[in-house]
């Protein structure tokens, strides 16, 4: 029997305790990985979002609007070179009067150009033709259409947070996503329908924001500056940013929650440390007599140290691996796909990143070493006579 066998057999002397400890480490690992995944998924959206698109909005406030004529300046290649196409939209603050959908983006868009720029949304050419003929036509994301229980040809009445009264729309099409980043919960209707309505004088000939597609994503910073410079001397100044930054500006304060998450993920490692340290300490205390015997028959203090540290690191490693398996099964297998399906706009890619899993495993090993260290030092330094004398 060599020392590894001794450590392995020791592990299962108290089978119940070992299993409970393993479950604890695995569950703690799963929680840690899940938190890191949320964090990662939030940040990774930046990479997944279309890099060739820029959003231009009012510099002062997300709620202030720009004059409609700005779009002509943006589209003029003589003024800002590098812009392939540009379209615009107005936030409508849409609400479902029947309360079937809690929150969805309702926006008035330029029906001529919207889908040319937002090319991750796929819509049938026939629907686009129908949209041109239908003043109050609307095109919905497939998920929203399901929630609102409407299909092509149906009438749909919505209300607004901003504009008074009922707005009667007609569903002319349903768009489906071509990329995961596409928001499948948007309602799009014609900007001219809004603009011609007397209830919307507040935003007459005004646009909320402009979306532009550029030739060369590497020039996005340059083009953004050029765009903003164009309006620098006008009354309404603009700020141009990547599409992702634009989306996040509506949820800016969420980052504070994420940093709290970071902190909390350390707490779960601490809990893991305490539980494992307790298990090791308990096992060592029960076996002090035995260690005394081992020392007496010639094992060195270093060997005792190795047994204890090895046992605690082995526990941690097995638990950590179990945690990774659980994460792959639950997060990547079940929760992730569901989140991508329903919240693709915010979390286009919700999978535990390999780097985080590796980090979690290393973290678990560190916890294993830290838990074993104090009992291992204590037991190896103990005098043989003390250990043998002790009676529990």
């Amino acid at each position: 029997m060599n020392s590894t066998t001794y450590a392995r057999r020791n592990l299962f002397r108290r089978r119940g305790r070992t299993i409970l400890t393993l479950i604890t480490i695995a569950v703690a690992g799963l929680i840690f990985n899940t938190i890191r995944t949320v964090d990662y998924a939030w940040k990774v959206g930046v990479n997944e979002a279309a890099k060739d698109r820029l959003a231009t909005r009012h510099k002062v406030s997300i709620t202030m609007q720009l004059p409609k004529r700005y779009i002509d300046d943006i589209r003029d290649p003589a003024k800002v070179p590098g812009i392939k196409a540009a379209t615009w939209a107005n936030w409508f603050g849409a609400k479902d009067p029947r309360g079937r959908a809690q929150f969805f983006a309702g926006i008035a868009v330029d029906h001529q150009t919207w889908f040319d720029v937002m090319d991750e949304m796929k819509v049938e050419p026939a629907a686009l033709e129908e949209w041109k003929r239908t003043n109050n036509g609307a095109i919905l994301g497939d998920l929203l259409a399901k929630t609102l229980e409407v299909k092509v040809g149906d009438d749909l009445t919505i209300t607004s947070d901003i504009y008074p009264g009922d707005w009667k729309l007609k569903v002319v099409g349903i768009y489906t996503p071509l990329r995961k980043t596409a928001d499948r919960n948007s309602l799009l209707f014609r900007w001219d329908f809004l603009n011609n309505d007397p209830r919307a004088t507040y935003s007459k000939e005004k646009i909320g924001w402009v979306m532009s597609r550029i030739d060369d994503p590497s020039k996005s910073a340059e083009i953004s500056r050029a765009l903003d410079k164009l309006f620098d001397e006008r009354d309404d100044q603009t700020v141009t940013m990547s599409e992702r930054t634009f989306q996040l500006s509506f949820l800016g304060g969420f980052s504070a929650i994420l940093s709290a998450f970071d902190l909390v993920s350390v707490v779960i490692l601490l809990i893991m440390l305490l539980v494992l340290a307790n298990t090791v300490a308990m096992s060592v205390r029960e076996r002090l007599h035995e260690y005394g015997v081992l020392r007496a028959i010639g094992f060195s203090p270093g060997a005792i140290f190795g047994f204890i540290l090895g046992e605690s690191m082995l526990l941690a490693a097995v638990g950590g691996l179990l945690g990774i398996v659980l994460t792959l099964l639950l997060v990547n297998g079940v929760v992730g796909p569901a989140i991508e399906e329903n919240m693709g706009g915010f979390f286009p890619y919700f999978r535990a990143p390999t780097a985080a899993l590796v980090m979690a495993f290393i973290g678990t090993l560190v916890v294993g070493a830290a838990s074993g260290l104090v009992p291992a030092i204590g037991a190896s330094r103990r005098k043989v006579t003390d250990s043998l004398r002790r009676v529990d």
């Binding site: 569950v27 500006s249 800016g252 809990i271 029960e286």
Partner: protein, 386 residues
């Protein structure tokens, strides 16, 4: 029943084990209580912003001041017998906008701030208002003051600073105010007409407020103005309005925090179970002796469950002590209702303390139950022979 002292002493003998297990529970309770405190802080900031005899009037269909618009006829909303004028003014109109500010921490990050255009009457309407430093802005000018919760958080939005609402039309911050912990402390206040002119919305206000002769007059007032064809508005009691505003935020914070804490508690409960299992195994001789002395199975079961609960409550208490330190810090969060930041504090309410202790008791109970059942099944004869 086995004397409680037996359990307390047993815990004291196994110091390291007791500390490690209680420490795990303390961490869980810390997370749980911190989330509850933040939720309570959000509620406090919002709820203290309202008075039961104040009514806020918004455009019909709007849920928040930010998206609402009421025509300049709003002054007539104060010409009703139910209204008690404040400083001779019946209805106070205000404009609320949200602007993007650059964070002053040098990170280059952007966030949103609410700017409220108000009048001297509007300020008088809120008796909790207090100028903390600097001076009052002169009415009718581009001077403004900043709420103390966000003072210094954004570039230019601090006493002596200036920030632009429109090109070459800056607001100058000349003072800082407090409002008894209300959410106004996360706003910038400027002149109503100046701000309306800068944003090009001279013909409307976001909201109107009136004070009623008594809270009981609300229904009569509401019926009268909601049926008035000149307006298309709705009337809400101020506390009700702010409760709705805070519901989403505090619910979100508390829900998220509780979910995380419950997940964490699984680990801590397993830790407690390991400890109690070890205790049962080590003390089987003692248990056998107790049984032989005549203590019933139930007495043993109760004794070990109580020991686990005691252990958990010890941890919970430690967690609570540390979480109280959070009362000293505040935390900026996004209020989805207003699209802008509110800075909220961690609020230690009796509910938070009670729910944290209940949470610890549950963790102890669940973690200790199975080991306790095992203990109660120890056969006295075999245990004493071993």
């Amino acid at each position: 029943m086995v004397p409680l002292r037996y359990n307390v002493r047993s815990l004291a003998v196994r110091k390291i084990t007791t500390l490690a297990t209680a420490g795990g529970i303390a961490l869980v309770v810390f997370v749980f209580a911190a989330a509850q405190m933040l939720g309570a802080g959000a509620q406090k900031a919002m709820v203290t912003s309202g008075r039961p005899d104040n009514v806020i009037i918004l455009r019909k269909g709007s849920d928040a001041e930010l998206s609402s618009a009421v025509s300049n006829e709003y002054k007539k909303l104060g010409d009703r017998p139910e209204v008690a004028p404040v400083n001779g003014v019946g209805a106070v109109g205000e404009m609320v906008i949200v602007i993007t500010g650059e964070l002053a921490d040098g990170s280059g990050g952007l966030s949103n701030v609410s700017v409220r255009g108000t009048t001297p009457e509007g300020i008088a309407f809120r008796p909790e208002f207090k100028l903390v430093s600097g001076r009052m802005p002169k009415p009718g000018t581009n001077e403004a003051m900043v709420g103390k919760a966000i003072s210094g958080r954004f570039k230019g939005i601090t006493t002596g600073g200036r920030f632009e609402l429109r090109r070459n039309r800056p607001l100058e911050v000349v003072g800082e105010f407090s409002a008894g912990g209300a959410s106004y402390e996360s706003e910038v206040w400027g002149d109503l007409d100046v701000i309306r002119k800068y944003v090009g919305r001279e013909s409307v206000v976001s909201s109107a407020r009136v004070r009623l002769t008594s809270p009981a007059a609300f229904e009569a007032y509401r019926m009268a103005i909601e049926n008035d064809k000149t307006f298309s508005v709705k009337a809400i009691r101020e506390p009700e309005y702010y409760r709705k505003q805070s519901e989403g935020l505090s619910g979100f914070l508390q829900g998220l925090g509780t979910a995380v804490a419950i997940l964490f508690s699984i680990a801590a409960m397993l830790g407690a179970a390991i400890t109690m299992n070890g205790a049962v195994a080590n003390r089987s001789k003692e248990i056998g002796t107790l049984r032989a002395l005549g203590f019933s199975k139930l007495a043993i079961l109760t004794s070990f469950v109580l020991e686990a609960i005691f252990l958990a409550v010890l941890g919970g208490a430690v967690g609570l002590v540390f979480v109280m330190l959070l009362s000293l810090v505040s935390f900026p969060v996004m209020n989805f209702q207003t699209f802008s930041e509110v800075v909220i504090g961690f609020e230690a309410t009796p509910e938070v303390i009670i729910s944290s202790l209940v949470f610890s008791v549950i963790m102890g109970l669940l973690g200790g139950l199975f080991p306790a059942i095992r203990a109660s099944r120890v056969s006295p004869v075999e245990a004493m022979r071993a």
